[in-house]
Symmetry: C2
Subunit: 800 residues, 2 copies
């Protein structure tokens, strides 16, 4: 058989194998060595780290794939990034990027020489060093390798609207068991071969997780192939453990899949704007866990076993033979052939690496801020609803927002998408469909509603996929917006955590990571307006979850009406490196602020609504001029429904107790409540006291769990007088007004709360409270009879 | 062709079709009617609900399946429950259970007559009535149909250790897009045909979600079949829209799958204890969305379209022709043939229903408390570690717990399982494997570690599957224990929400639902002890998430050592209808309490540790006898690591400021901090003040986010003097001690905090604080050089 029958020439094979051995050597070094990086001296205990922390098992496979991708990137000038799903394969990516030179460009101290190698080894899993998993610190990464399950969905997010990009995505057989990963395979039904790039999934079956085999490694070949054909892929299998043979097999598979990707793209792009869904190729690589590591340790199989998951050799101090085993292991890679005397990789290795930005560690897609283009935003004020008098007219806030977002789509046709779990229309953002469609590459039928391969709205019934696609899209330098039912956004709590931690680390500690667009959530169909959805759909706790994360990247907005929602959304879309949570209702609701007033209100994020307050009007009463600015009660509100109920309570109070001095404060930007030292938006104590007074009772109507307000404000001087109403886990399928009644957040309860808190009302309180109770009884009777709220509640008469 | 060739005789076909029509009629009635249930009068507006809330689309399919299952349950005396994955198909299950009679047994007011039917209709999605989705209120349900994705995993949980049970699980094509559902198909690799029952999955492709088609409905038949063969099932396809033909096709498929299940079970059970993994059957049912509903409304296709997802006909008041359409629609089911003049189902329908507990609405498996057997628990005190003096010896708390759990397994071989995402050994519960294995039905190889078909430890790298299996197991009356890395338990935040809401509703509002075993979490590998895992593995916020739910079902325990962990675990395993969260470390750590002391401490959940305190010893100092019991500082701690650091700080203070009166309080039961009115475990204010004083400074070292302590205690009289240290999102890959230093929770910071807070230390504070800073610098230098903590920190000298 001539050499031509093998995909790799002897020279190519030599290069790839040398790279692989070098990367494996550097990976083992990272896990074990403090010093003596080139093994110039015989290895002894003081060269070895006292705490051995790292994961060898997945690492040689990740190195193997990296080497093979380098060959085709160079040959075909491919634009490729690498996502390492197997969580703890950190040493592999660090080793490979050091070999190609990108690592030392980001971290000049870790130079490509003996001293740099020493630092490379030492820093790994070492205090003050780098984590053992792929992390924001790792060049070329857009994917933290801690929690598992998101590699594939990140990869798809990265290639949307990046037609030339290929995301090589290694999926571990452990993470393949997770739900988000299992769902993510179907992302190929949303990928347009004309305008999007390609994902090359490599399912890496090394057989074992921490202590267990992996499910996909223990089903038959037939089932495995059926599964991935069923997911819509053509799997190419590469399996074995002999390096030379595996290099040839892998090279053949890689050549085939790259050619197939190019053919798919060429065909689709020649064929116009309505392509058929292709069957994308993928690779299933079956190689031993801990490949090339110690065959056995202490008489137990290690290579090819779960025992090589972390550190195959430990107890160095008590087992001197382990030190020798380690030396043998490292020398099995023949470092003398791989590094020159100064510690730099030899020319043969350098010859495999791509050049400049084609190196996967230096690809700008993986440092998305480099590629970020400003959104071209229409003037949000043009979408304002007219508000002649507060409360006079109703509007659906999210529907108004939809028109604005529609034009954001129009002005940014290739770097802005809207994501949601099949709720875009339900959340009343339907205006989007005036200009675009839902992305859809699966079969389409007559009567389908706005489906197209090039749709800009990403809908799938998986919050995980929505979140993951969006993260991948943002991390590669684009913009997006995620709308979701409030209760079910908890599905992605943990993904949010990981993204928030990524942003904290990158924005604070990694200057070469350029700022990316913020992650914007719109939570709607919220706890107070469920209609047919009952108790299971009621959970405002995502805000609490978010606020636990590092303050500098967290923003929470609760605009009370459509114009404030517009102002907030515009601000969020312009921001960088933040996570913005916007909570707003979709149902018809009274509008309070004109656009000018909304802009002013949102610019401070909190303020007195003077038109609803009367503490400045009748301050000249019994208390005299000195206290003209001190109200009897501060009624604060945050969220659209609490604002409505607070204002209705104020209206009642005007009628029932016209001499009561009420100050109404509305909070749009929740984080203003926290002390300035704890959040950049936090009010100073002086400003807080000026709003909330130092000693007057405060009745705070809040959208979510009431204790969050206490947690934000407990250091404020007037905290002892703060009484908060909010959602206290009472609810069922009932009318909108009954939902607030069940949680004591309604206008009638609020009036009673005021009576309990204002000394000067003591005499009149029993009478007024009885009247409120009567109104509540009347309400209960009405809805039990009619199944809907009383007209008097729905058509409330406002005094202004 | 003779009749024998068709699976259904004319009589059977008639019965099934009549049942189906009746259930459909009752479903439409629930969505639309307030009155006139039998259409005795011509339908008019006042018979129709003012708010039309419900989901018709999935309902006829659910009714169709229910009818067909009834036939085989009766014929073969099957023990079957029904899980309705499609969220909002509530009307179907309510209709079918009313038809079979079980509904009226649970809700006698909703009798099987005209008045009962009127109530049945009226209550649906009506204030004070029932939710529109399958809910705890629904007889026969163990699965809330709100959030999607968990039907299949619940079904598997239900049949573990229930060898005769078949869980008929309808999976909607919408929910099939979710991650948890996509992963759950692989549950068949964990199901033992000898000792477990069977799941019969029915993938219901009706094509559409809310506004979109469903992915699985829009891939080719070939891909669909490959996907499910790849998942390890044999799919049987039933597709069409002609009722008579569909009845025959469905009956044939059901006959085939039931026979196949029986064959699989018979073969496996005859074959001994080491069965091969069978290829289980499933059904893929393709039927029109909104089947039998209006073909078109206002000129737009409705049956077979996303437009029938909710209410196909609305705007009744403004469109009188819709009222007529509704009447036509309901009459198309020929109610006169289905119900007698009194409103009861006719004999033909009753003849299809199984009898007694075989009715799916009355099956006791679906009201698991009925079947709950007490756990047989060994005496946890037998597993105690000896504690001669506090701090003298180290133990690994979870390893000690492992021995106890091992014997729980031994004593309860068929109704207790332990669940975890491949972390049982990592979490040091390895003693379990002395008596059992990991459940595993996929291929096994030489060298595998404790895998067996009948293993009692359920490990899969999916927190969703662990949680879902456990929920299904508990809801059908068994017991379980879930151990998980603390940071990643957020993956199931949303599943927790749904289970907590289920428990709240069932325990408070549904007396016929009997109490079930509590859901017990052990969170370990926690934020303070990560070793190689970095910032992405650090999140103690699950506690915050949990505490937001209704107080009466939530318990949170942070045992400081092994003996307290044993006492807490025993208590949790005995409890009912709660969710217990236990947070405990796995690393070697000092032990504080003897078993007797631990029992006493855990019985109150909070207490003064007198042996560590000295406020009672030298109270006779300068302040005189009156203040003998008033300390200069209260040092509270909650969590194993904060307890360690607090006690180390106390040790330092004894040396540096022997006259300082310190009171040490340890909190095991976090909810004791909340007011008694808010949590059943909450301390009264009097008891709280007796512990924490009314005016002395409190320094509280807490395991998690510090503000949670403020949120629990903000109403307490001494709250203004409370200063809390905890995790503030600072962390990386570093040493254990450095982790606490990064968050100011270490002993040296705590001593400095004391100095800032005790007036009598004012003079000495600068000197002591400088000494603490020096120690911190020394620590930093040491770990940067050595990569591990100083021996002096690791081997701390305790004064007691």
């Amino acid at each position: 058989m001539s050499n031509n029958a093998l995909p790799l020439s002897a020279v190519e094979l030599g290069r790839i194998d040398a790279w692989w051995r070098a990367a494996n050597y550097l990976s083992v070094g990272q896990i074990y060595l403090l010093d003596n990086p080139l093994l110039k001296a015989p290895l002894c205990l003081e060269h070895i780290k006292p705490r051995l922390l790292g994961h060898w098992g997945t690492t040689p496979g990740l190195n193997f794939i990296y080497a093979h991708m380098n060959r085709v990137i160079r040959r075909d000038d491919l634009d490729m990034i690498y996502l390492a799903g197997p969580g703890h394969g950190g040493p592999a990516l660090v080793a490979s990027t050091w070999l190609e030179g990108s690592y030392s460009e980001f971290y000049p101290n870790v130079s490509r020489d003996e001293e740099g190698m020493r630092r490379l080894f030492r820093q790994f899993s070492f205090p003050g060093g780098i984590p053992s998993h792929v992390a924001p610190e790792t060049p070329g990464s857009i994917h933290e390798g801690g929690e598992l399950g998101y590699a594939l969905v990140h990869a798809y997010g990265a290639v949307f609207d990046n037609p030339e990009l290929i995301a090589c995505c290694v999926v571990g057989d452990g993470e393949a068991e997770t739900g988000p990963l299992a769902a993510a395979w179907h992302s190929n039904k949303f990928l347009n071969p004309v305008t999007d790039g390609a994902v090359l999934p490599i399912l890496h079956l090394n057989g074992y997780k921490i202590a267990n085999p992996a499910v996909l490694a223990r089903i038959s070949h037939e089932e495995l192939e059926q599964l991935f054909r069923g997911y819509g892929y053509t799997p190419y299998f590469v399996a074995g453990d002999d390096p030379a043979q595996m290099h040839q097999d892998m090279a053949a598979a890689v050549d085939a899949v790259v050619a197939e990707i190019r053919t798919i793209q060429r065909t689709a792009r020649a064929g116009g704007s309505d392509p058929l869904r292709p069957r994308w190729p993928m690779i299933i690589l079956r190689s031993p866990k801990g490949w090339t590591g110690p065959r056995s340790v202490d008489g137990k199989q290690t290579e090819g076993s779960w025992r090589s998951h972390q550190v195959p050799l430990s107890d160095m101090a008590s087992k001197p033979e382990h030190v020798r085993l380690l030396q043998d292991w490292m020398e099995s890679y023949r470092p003398g052939e791989l590094f020159d005397a100064a510690g730099a990789p030899v020319a043969e290795i350098a010859a495999l690496a791509p050049v400049g930005e084609r190196r996967m560690g230096a690809n700008p897609h993986a440092n998305g801020g480099l590629r970020l283009r400003e959104l071209r935003l229409p003037d949000y004020r043009d979408y304002a609803v007219a508000v002649a008098r507060p409360g006079q007219d109703d509007a659906e806030a999210t529907r108004v927002l939809g028109s604005f977002l529609r034009d954001v789509i129009v002005h940014n046709p290739d770097n802005f998408r809207v994501f949601g779990p099949d709720e875009t229309a339900s959340n009343r953002l339907g205006a989007l469909f005036e200009v675009t469609d839902r992305a859809w590459m699966a079969e389409r039928l007559e009567g389908d509603d706005h489906l197209a391969p090039d749709g800009r709205v990403m809908e799938v019934l998986s919050e995980h996929l929505c979140q993951g696609w969006l993260e991948g899209y943002l991390l590669t330098g684009r913009h997006g917006f995620f709308s979701c039912y409030e209760a079910f956004i908890h599905i992605i709590d943990s993904m949010f955590n990981q993204h928030a931690k990524w942003l904290k680390v990158t924005s604070r500690e990694i200057p070469w990571r350029r700022p990316i667009a913020s992650l914007n959530y719109l939570l709607t169909s919220h706890v107070w307006r469920q209609d047919h959805n009952g108790f299971s759909h009621q959970d405002p706790g995502f805000i609490d979850h978010v606020v636990n994360k590092k303050a500098d990247i967290i923003r929470v907005y609760l605009p009370p009406d459509a114009n404030t929602l517009l102002a907030v959304a515009d601000h969020c879309l312009r921001s960088r490196n933040d996570i913005n949570v916007i909570v707003a209702g979709k149902q018809p609701a009274p509008q309070w602020l004109s656009m000018d007033a909304a802009v002013k209100h949102c610019s401070t994020g909190i303020g007195i609504w003077e038109w609803a307050s009367n503490d400045w009007q009748n301050g000249g009463g019994e208390a005299g001029v000195d206290q003209a600015s001190e109200p009897d009660i501060v009624m604060a509100c945050c969220g659209d429904v609490p604002t409505l109920e607070t204002l209705a309570a104020v209206a009642l109070l005007r009628e029932l107790a016209p001499d009561l001095r009420v100050r109404v404060i509305n909070v749009v930007d929740l984080m203003t409540l926290q002390p300035r030292e704890e959040h950049p938006h936090g009010l100073t104590d002086k400003d807080f006291d000026a709003l909330f007074t130092r000693d007057r009772p405060i009745l705070f109507a809040y959208h979510g769990y009431p204790w969050l307000i206490h947690r934000l404000a407990y250091r404020r001087s007037n905290h002892a007088n703060l009484h908060v109403r909010g959602y206290k886990e009472e609810g069922t399928t009932t009318t909108p007004f009954d939902m607030v009644v069940l949680n004591d957040l309604d206008r009638f309860h609020l009036v009673s709360d005021v009576m309990d808190r204002v000394p000067k009302m003591r005499a009149r309180a029993p009478h007024i409270k009885q009247a409120m109770r009567d109104r509540l009884v009347e309400h209960k009777e009405y809805i039990e009879r009619h199944g809907e709220d009383m007209p008097a509640i729905r058509d409330w008469k406002w005094p202004w």
